[in-house]
Amino acid sequence: MKTKYMNPYLAGFFLGVLLIGTFYISGRGLGASGAIKAVTVHTVNVISPEHSQQNGFYAAFNSSRAGNPLRDWLVLEVFGVIIGAFISGLISDRLKFTTEGGPRVKNGMRLIFAFAGGLLFSFGAQMARGCTSGAALTGMAVLSTAGFVTMMAIFGSGYAIAYFFRKLWI
């Protein structure tokens, strides 16, 4: 049985309520790129501790969010995202190993672009100190300047370049 997606406004409302609850309980918003950062830094720490001591980026992370990565708020939250999305996929019968892309893109090509896109997105998220979740959405919830600036930059840039990458999607 193929089930439909939730009404987007209803989903948005639930997501908004979840964000409010998150602020009420933990005093902070949702995030994603922060967990990816935590995993990367902990990996570097394990492989080459000397290297992570010399580099200001790793050092800053290690001094503020040191310790067991499983005791990191964002890492646990993202662990939850995996579980929650899996449950949703299970309920709505969408669990399937597949590669998805635009109609004109071959799977191999799609995977190369996915890697490049992930790399760029994550690089940008480090620069802006947060991604669509942590900076834009959460920032919008607390009406922070950073939230709105980041959101406009992401979507502004996306629209500006969409035409040049149209073969990827349409």
Binding site: V81, G117, L119, C131, S157, G158, L168, W169
Partner: protein, 395 residues
């Protein structure tokens, strides 16, 4: 009063909460269709505006909800994490993220979500994202100057724009409603299979009406702290109001005795030329006092809280504010710092007093020397300010 961390629930439970919040987050994202890169990319090509609908509705709902919680004192705005702004890095990072979005078809949160239901492209996107952090870290030494540039602090967007929060909401919500309306029109034109075709006009209209009504209510709400400050200044303007007053000599005496049952709060004023900070005093302005940081400092019931400012009127405002916040055992310094200066620190005045009242003159002369020494000693040591524990946050 929220947030529940760190006062009501501990670190351990916060981590369990993180897991549960994440489960709900992942579930909602997947149910909304954010596990599909084709759907996500649709927002840039006009065939599917799900991203915009979910994102804007969530942002507006959360912003409205947090304002309401704040208004009814259910959450402390001073304690929640406002992501600080570094303007140019935020813009540059956002532009790069735009490229990542178009090329990769996901953002980090949605890629994790899509990977969880088996999308191989999403799993590869996550690997790319891990590599992206590594690349950023390795290049960090060359970018650190830019990364740390144009810091504006934890500013709110309405302050940056120089408008009130109410006005900002008046603009934001109708913009969201208009965006929903026009993007649905675009979607219907671009794609025959778009969701927009199945939306019912009546429901949309009702939804928009609710949003506009909420806008009007919010626009009329004053900001809570400002409301209290205003009320305090009205009360302080009443000449019949009664205050507990401490005069300069008593304050000087207690300072010299090192009286532990007393805490001095020195209120900073605009255009304050008075750089003299009394020994042991906590320095704060009226706004800070109205916020949580003030209440943490004012916490103890049994200490005499002496409110000191350049002039007595400001002290009265602070007094009214603190008593509105529910604090007792408050005092104001008679005549403000102005009088304290004239009676304790002006040697020529002390000489005049000495001629008529030898004991008082001797006391003031002695106090002048000793308090000055205490101030010099305090300057060498760090000043006690309104710094309190902060909730950690950020990406």
């Amino acid at each position: 009063m929220g947030p529940l961390v760190p006062d009501f629930i501990g670190e351990e439970f916060n981590l369990i909460a993180a897991l549960l919040i994440g489960i709900a987050f992942g579930y909602i994202l997947e149910q909304a269709g954010f596990s599909s890169s084709k759907r996500l990319a649709g927002v840039f090509y006009g065939y599917d505006f799900t991203v915009l609908r979910v994102f804007f509705t969530a942002g507006v709902t959360a912003a409205v909800g947090i304002i309401l919680l704040e208004q009814f004192s259910l959450i402390d705005a001073e304690f929640i994490f406002i992501n600080p702004t570094w303007l140019y890095p935020a813009i540059a990072g956002g532009v790069i993220m735009g490229f990542g979005f178009i090329i990769g078809g996901y953002c980090p949160g949605t890629s994790i979500c899509a990977a969880a239901i088996g999308k191989k492209d999403a799993m590869i996107f996550v690997l790319g994202a891990l590599a992206g952090v590594f690349l950023f870290a390795e290049l960090f030494p060359y970018m650190v100057n830019f990364y740390e540039s144009s810091s504006l602090g934890a500013v709110r967007v309405y302050d940056s724009l120089g408008i009130s929060r109410g006005l900002f909401i008046i603009i934001l919500i109708p913009v969201a409603v208009a965006a929903f309306y026009f993007t649905t029109k675009i979607e219907k034109k671009v794609s025959t299979e778009a969701d927009g075709h199945s939306f019912k006009g009546g429901r949309h209209f009702a939804f928009a009406t609710i949003l506009i009504a909420v806008t009007l209510v919010l626009a009329l709400l004053p900001e809570k702290n400002e409301q209290m400050l205003e009320e305090a200044s009205v009360l302080a303007a009443d000449p019949a109001a009664v205050y507990k007053v401490m005069d300069s000599d008593e304050l000087a005496f207690r300072l010299l005795e090192g009286d532990h049952t007393m805490q001095v709060f020195q209120i900073k004023m605009q255009n304050d030329r008075d750089s003299l900070l009394l020994p042991g005093a906590a320095l704060l302005d009226l706004k800070t006092l109205a916020a949580k940081e003030g209440s943490v400092l004012l916490g103890s019931t049994f200490t005499k809280k002496v409110l000191v400012a350049g002039d007595e009127q400001t002290e009265k405002e602070a007094y009214q504010l603190a008593s509105l916040m529910g604090y007792r055992n408050l005092y104001i310094l008679k005549g403000g710092m102005e009088e304290f200066r004239n009676s304790i620190f002006a040697r020529e005045n002390i000489e005049i007093i000495r001629q008529s009242d030898l004991v008082l003159g001797e006391f003031r002369s002695d106090a002048c020397t000793r308090i000055e020494t205490m101030i010099m000693a305090a300057k060498a040591a760090p000043v006690k300010t309104g710094a309190v524990k902060k909730v950690k946050g950020g990406c």
